[in-house]
Point group: C2
Chain length 453, copies 2
């Protein structure tokens, strides 16, 4: 028979079992956190009609999309979770209750140029709150808390949530008479991190902003300091533009509830340079950076938008949402040595080795352990004892139980703790209690542990 | 702006939030059960190189597959989880420990003719144990236990796991001198349930089986009764064919450990009519039927095979596995009224209604509840009180908390139990304790409840 060489497509992440457990542990931590905030899980198809998925059309997206025909259907794989959400909410609006709070953790597809750390299939972990016609500012104020709890649940500590409000920017540019070109100006200002202040100013002037206005803009985006310092610096612009004032009020509200939401001051900063390079956002915008790895860029971004589903319905659906690129985050954290090597990754808690011809006692023991929630594997392959122990060791199974004729007739179990090396013989219930106790201790870790400074 | 009508492709299941929670609850029950038996989770790409995915080639599969090009790559969406597993094990064989036990719950794609209850995108929930060169019979004996625990975890009771051994069939046909045509004969016999005994016999003779052999075959597949009756009936064929004898020994082993594995006799039957219409299986084969809905067909099938990855490697990888078609199972159970209407489906356990201008007390209360694991939604949309209660009611949120000026100054919380209608005012910690207690009781249900006979 001809052998086809097995391979995985370039740009597709496939994990070995130990890594997969860590990845799943991260996804599960996000799922639990999102659920704590009252978001309901959704799962939409990976394939949509191309016409529907590309309703917005144009841009980079269309070039990267996986699009194909089947029969006479023009199909495409989703490239994010926002467009399917818009489609979902527009389609099911009459059956949903608003505000509609959903999370979705799922794979999306982009045929990007293959390069290290860029994936063509990757998980996004999104939450959105969608209002029907309007949506209270409290939803925007809550988002930093969700980001904080999500990353804390993963085990991260040294990260900073950065927040701005698009209305402040829009209002400020209107003051300078630049409202027509605010979007372009903001796109240029958004490059600050990448190219520096000097080049941004030069670009602005090049794009037709007067030198005086460019100076004003550079002064404005240079406003920095503690949250209260930035907020008071902004007060001096108050009263000149209604949109600006509204944005400042909103930003004050968001900052004022951080404490009640349990977000420490050190994990949060108002940052006027953040605009999110999209025309989509209209209110609070969010980015999140690892303090020790700013070069990774934002690991959780999003914001407030006014019209989620304008391509699918005339119903006005404002919302606020954030997205975590989970596959990329897993990859970069792995690269930086952030994945917890101590996290239990074994497929089983216990390996039971039957040593008698009649397997019934070993099977009954395994059944009993499983009924108590202990993940148990029976192992009866024809191997030498040493090979069996090596198997347990390689998989990091923490406990091995032996059941020979002596144990069976005495009604006891012999076990070995693979971490301490301790071996003992005890009654089955005592062994189960010891194991459950040990497992409870082992399960306390987070998938990520930051390396010591 | 042009509006594109939002829609979901035909043959693609998309659930509303309440149904999604039930579906996820089923998937989670399977995940937990599989993990208890020492299976590790895997997640392979949905897209593979067409050449790799279609290594086996031919047949219905190739017609149904979603295949397309991107750049100069010939790609295809996976149509099951077995082929990607074979590819995975062949690719990573040096990095895995054998027996390799994995589960995978994931979407697969088949462009079948659209019809009611048939899906083009559907979840499969698979487990497989793969050995390196050989694999102990204990793994085959364990599978009925996993099937039993899986369906019990879902809430099903009236189902039967049916088991046969392909070696018994192969050996039996060899006794009749039909070993060359055993596969064809078995395919015909496999139609017994659909077309009845008479037509099967006629078909066999039509296909060239002598009338005497056809009678022998019909006698053989008519063997029925309790497991021990069937096993003793088979003893009379012993000693005539080595493969038969081996199959009978294996079947005896599988049956002998059922009790120790915790599988009740009533949920299990030896059934000689089961062959699984595939040439792939070589040992124990499994099907599972709902006793009250045999028309649905097998809801969990699989078996022992000798060569998982023959298209990708010369390494001999025998294994045993089963697959549950989760999307279809969810659909048919829903159709039959099996989904538990009492299963908590609310996105939140508590809805907190702030009634003061300063939101800090309400936010702090929500933060405190979340820290105790209570899924909490803050609701501060500008709606009448009645509309707020209707929102909680429609989402089946079990508790609503109010925090007005009076409550805040007294340091208490008012709450309403939405199920009993009871309203009370109490200290925040008392309320949290009451809620946690109520939630623990509510969470005991299974996603499926069988209707009363």
């Amino acid at each position: 028979m001809d052998i086809i060489k097995p391979r995985v497509l370039s740009g597709f992440m496939e994990l070995l079992p130990e890594e997969q457990v860590k990845f799943d542990c991260m996804a599960e931590a996000l799922r639990r956190t999102y659920a704590l905030y009252g978001f309901t899980p959704l799962d939409t198809p990976l394939i949509e009609a191309a016409e529907v998925l590309l309703a917005k059309g144009g841009g980079e997206t269309e070039k990267q999309i996986y699009r194909f025909t089947k029969g006479d259907s023009d199909l495409a794989l989703r490239f994010d979770l926002t467009v399917p959400l818009a489609r979902y909410v527009a389609l099911h609006a009459n059956e949903l209750s608003f505000p509609f709070r959903r999370y979705q953790i799922g794979k999306v597809y982009r045929g990007e140029r293959a390069q290290r750390g860029r994936f063509r299939e990757f998980y996004q972990a999104d939450i959105d709150v969608i209002g029907d016609g309007q949506l209270d500012i409290l939803n925007e104020a809550e988002i930093p808390s969700i980001i904080y709890k999500s990353f804390t649940a993963l085990g991260l500590k040294r990260f900073q949530i950065r927040v701005n409000n698009r209305k402040i920017l829009t209002g400020f540019y209107a003051m300078l008479g630049l409202n027509e070109r605010a979007a372009d100006v903001m796109r240029t200002v958004d490059k600050l991190d990448k190219i520096g202040a000097e080049k941004v100013r030069a670009l602005l002037v090049e794009e037709g902003v007067s030198p005086a206005s460019a100076d004003e803009i550079m002064d404005f985006i240079a406003i920095s300091g503690s949250n209260s310092e930035v907020l008071s610096a902004l007060e001096r612009y108050r009263g000149k533009n209604e949109v600006f004032d509204q944005g400042l009020d909103e930003l004050n509200t968001v900052v004022s509830y951080l404490g009640a939401f349990g977000v420490p001051e050190k994990n949060f900063a108002v940052d006027l340079a953040i605009a999110r390079g999209l025309d989509y956002y209209t209110g609070t915008v969010y980015e999140t950076k690892l303090l020790d790895h700013p070069e990774i860029g934002s690991i959780c971004s999003g914001g407030r938008y006014d019209n989620l589903a304008e391509y699918y319905t005339k119903q006005k659906l404002p919302g606020v949402g954030i997205s975590i690129g989970l596959t990329r985050l897993f990859y970069v954290l792995g690269e930086q040595g952030y994945l917890n090597p101590e996290l239990p990754s074994a497929p089983a808690d216990v390996l039971v080795l039957p040593m008698t011809d009649d397997l019934a006692p070993a099977v009954a023991l395994a059944t009993r352990l499983r009924e108590q929630g202990v993940r148990t594997q029976l192992y009866r392959e024809q191997k030498k004892f040493k090979a069996k122990m090596a198997y347990a060791d390689k998989l990091h199974v923490p406990y091995v139980l032996f059941l020979g004729e002596d144990e069976v007739s005495a009604g006891v179990v012999s076990y070995k703790d693979m971490v301490t090396g301790e071996q003992r013989t005890a009654l089955p219930d005592e062994v189960a209690a010891l194991i459950l106790d040990g497992l409870a201790k082992r399960r306390q870790g987070t998938p990520i542990v930051e390396p010591e400074g």
